[in-house]
Amino acid sequence: MVLMDAPLVLGIETSCDETGIGIVRGRQLLSNTIASSMDEHARYGGVVPEVAARAHLEALQPSIDAALAEAGVTLADLDAVAVTSGPGLAGALMVGVGAAKGLAVALDKPLYAVNHLVGHIAADILDADAAELEYPTVALLVSGGHTSLLLVRDLTSDVELLGETMDDAAGEAFDKVARLLKLPYPGGPEIDRAAADGDPTAIRFPRGLSRASDMAAHRYDFSFSGLKTAVARWVEQHEAAGQPVPVSDVAASFREAVVDVLVTKALDACARFEVPRLLLGGGVIANKRLRDVALERAAAAGVAVRIPPLRLCTDNGAMIAALAAELISSGRRPSTLAFGADSTLPVTEIQVDEDPDAVAPMLPSGSAP
């Protein structure tokens, strides 16, 4: 692909607590601006939707200005606008949807409403140093908001949900267990720090939905609330007996249980669908133990692991712009202006509300898909 001919797209992401504005030219990353309201949620021990939505509204304009400056482009240069329609927090998503519509109407540019989870996969194609993404691939997406296992046959047309969490997301489990251990929010890095000199085999915590009897209905689904309760019970029993709680061992054993179940199910999917490729995404991929165990066990299973750059693994607007650029390059028409925020948007809806009456943006010659 000739890069200068690829579509210049600005992506807006507001599904959780990060206001992400990204600009790409096709598969080339030009800017990735992220404003996070994480600090405002710390004293509540988790993301508060109303706090997140208020922060998005205030962060939008400065983030767009910063992204344009970083990319060295103007709004008039854009070929299209992209936005996350879902899944995510409804009130937070709506801020981005309103902003994207305002921008598309102001500039009279095509608007693409896309799926957040598929966006996490699209983050991978922005990695300039990586080889081309091969299909099919299994994708494991882990964050504070979601834990999903996907089978990706094509980024723009064929993504299947294999399984997802039935209760807490993995990142949420880290936050909740951190609180049990009186560690601050966000829990992921704190658990990691505590686990550094702990013994991951000290306590055998349960692996959710991993029994033989779970395999029929929930082979690729996850559950972390039972694990959280098991940790709580273990800690309470120690305290009741007047024994000191070995925080390092508890943290390491808890983290091991999460990592084990994530990697085991992902590699099980690779084996069952005979797909020797696993893509990791989402903010919890920043957890080094998860990456290490995934790489080690995947290598043993003959599965190649891809991990996008970590700054593209957390929620961001660049992945949303990248997905829209791929949709444009594959000839897809823009969305209508009538879509809304869909907090439970299924992963099969890669683009929302494609307009049958619209024309696909014309790409300059030489950039045909």
């Binding site: 208020r54 509204l57 939008l60 902003a99 305002g102 598309a104 609180r179 019970r233 925020a341």
Partner: protein, 210 residues
């Protein structure tokens, strides 16, 4: 030309000439669905006003989720057009409409309160008394919340007649902005008129499980 947007009750978008002539008025009375309808309403209104000089935005009070859709749209639309944003309390738009309608019919309006539903068994209200020399409603009290059962007693204290509003005219938001611009005045700050803190409690100790 001024584009007016308000999503504090339904979703309303209008375009007016600087002298107040209404060029387009688009609205949806659906109390939900702001995000779904705002794009089409804005596109239709701006077709009638292709070269806006300002964007006027109703800052509430109103249910937060819907209110924010309009403010997000207005802010980023203004950014996209490279024109300034003018913030207007949504109740000012309602009051201006009431006062202009009464002036047309020669009715004496007197002191009155614009009242809107704030959910959670509360009303939001602002008290007004006539138009000033700039043609803007005189705001006697800033927007505030009142328990539903207390409202009438409070309005009596102010000597204000009650005017319940179920919609806000985006054209009146734009007209209030036009008059504020003519008089070089600011009607509202840049923050939405939430009137409530986020409804959260600080993290408590984890519940015991055994």
């Amino acid at each position: 030309m001024i584009i007016g947007i308000d999503t504090s009750l339904g979703t309303a978008v209008a375009a007016i000439a600087r002298d107040g002539e209404i060029l387009a008025e688009e609205q949806s009375s659906n109390p939900l669905g702001h995000a779904e309808v705002i794009g089409d309403l804005l596109r239709r209104a701006t077709t009638a006003a292709p070269a806006p000089t300002h964007v006027a935005i109703g800052m509430g009070p109103g249910p937060f989720t819907g209110l924010r859709v309009g403010i997000a749209t207005a802010r980023v639309y203004a950014l996209g057009r490279g024109v300034p944003l003018v913030a207007v309390p949504s109740h000012d738009g309602v009051a201006l409409g009431v006062l202009l309608a009464d002036a047309l019919t020669g009715t004496e309006t007197g002191r009155f309160a614009v009242v809107t539903d704030a959910r959670r068994r509360e009303f939001a209200y602002s008290v007004y008394d006539g138009l000033d020399d700039d043609g803007l409603p005189v705001r006697v009290t800033e927007a505030a919340l009142s328990p539903r059962d207390d409202l009438d007693a409070r309005l009596e204290e102010h000597g204000a007649r009650r005017h319940d509003a179920t919609s806000v005219s985006a054209a009146m938001i734009a007209l209030a902005a036009a008059r504020a611009l003519d008089a070089d005045r600011t009607l509202a700050g840049p923050e939405p008129l939430y009137l409530r803190s986020p409804d959260v409690v600080a993290a408590h100790a984890p519940k015991r499980v055994s």
